[in-house]
């Protein structure tokens, strides 16, 4: 059945059928999100390094108190989420470029997404536990 027949039968606009096909698919979404998270990580990453350096010889109570401060907890969660998001986008490109066996590619793409999600959730839970436990 040609595309034209399908249109007549479905009474749908041809654009409706064409949309989402072709090499573009999600367009520049992946590329743009990688740039947005990169800019966020520029700021959050520098903040994170400075914060860690300030806590260089901190004992347990000092380190805990620092993470529990509202601004630090907020920025820490933002940093961790952005970090994993950016890492998944980057690793996805690496896997798509170098893994040429389709099933291995799909398995790896799923694996990095699951691992990143677990890592992000574990980090957020840890920060919340420190920030919310008196």
């Amino acid at each position: 059945m040609s595309a034209k027949d399908a249109v007549v039968k479905d009474r749908r606009n041809p654009l409706k059928i064409a949309r989402g096909l072709g090499s573009s698919q999600s367009g520049v979404g992946h590329w743009w999100t990688q740039r947005v998270t990169a800019v966020a990580l520029l700021l959050l990453g520098v903040w994170f390094v400075v914060t860690v350096l300030c806590l260089l010889h901190a004992d347990y109570a000092t380190a805990r108190a620092a993470v529990a401060k509202p601004w630090n907890a907020l920025l820490l969660i933002a940093f961790v989420l952005t970090m994993f998001w950016h890492a998944v986008l980057g690793m996805q490109v690496v896997i798509e470029d170098y893994v040429h066996v389709r099933w291995k590619e799909v398995v790896l793409l799923l694996a990095i997404k699951f691992l990143a999600m677990l890592g992000a959730l574990a980090s957020v839970l840890a920060v919340l536990r420190i920030a919310l436990t008196p």
Binding site: A38, L56, Y60, A63, V80, M83, M91, S123
Partner: protein, 131 residues
């Protein structure tokens, strides 16, 4: 490689090594290293949330010789990816594609990453060592 019988175009091994090539490869390599390095951030937070004993255990882990090697490696990877990432963001605006500019900015991100790594570890050493 793909299971194909097609003739393939020449790959890395036929080209003379150039700094632009190295800066691009390093950006990917450090990106992969940093993806693994996210474990360090997660571990740090989990150990801190786990109480005083587990936090001290984490401090001993990262102050061990293997921990220090990983920390130095990851800090350089972070700073390289940061510097070269800024370079890529600038290039995304269409700037800096002349060959001489491209070579110069490649060297600049390499130098910047080393300077930042040295500065941070100099600070750590003068402040009395890691952890």
């Amino acid at each position: 490689m793909a299971d194909t019988q097609r003739p393939l175009s020449p790959h890395l091994q036929v080209y003379k090594w150039q700094v632009q090539m190295v800066s691009s490869i390093l950006h990917r390599a450090t990106g992969i290293a940093l993806s693994v390095g996210t474990l360090l951030v997660v571990c740090g937070l989990l150990y801190l949330a786990g109480g005083e004993e587990s936090f001290n255990h984490f401090k001993n882990l990262i102050a061990s010789p293997v921990g220090l090697v990983l920390l130095v490696g990851w800090s350089w990877a972070l700073f390289y990816h940061l510097c070269n990432g800024i370079r890529h963001l600038v290039q995304d605006t269409g700037l800096g594609y002349g060959i001489s500019q491209f070579v110069r900015s490649s060297w600049l991100s390499a130098a910047g990453s080393i300077v930042l790594t040295v500065l941070v570890w100099a600070y750590v050493l003068t402040a009395g060592g890691a952890a």
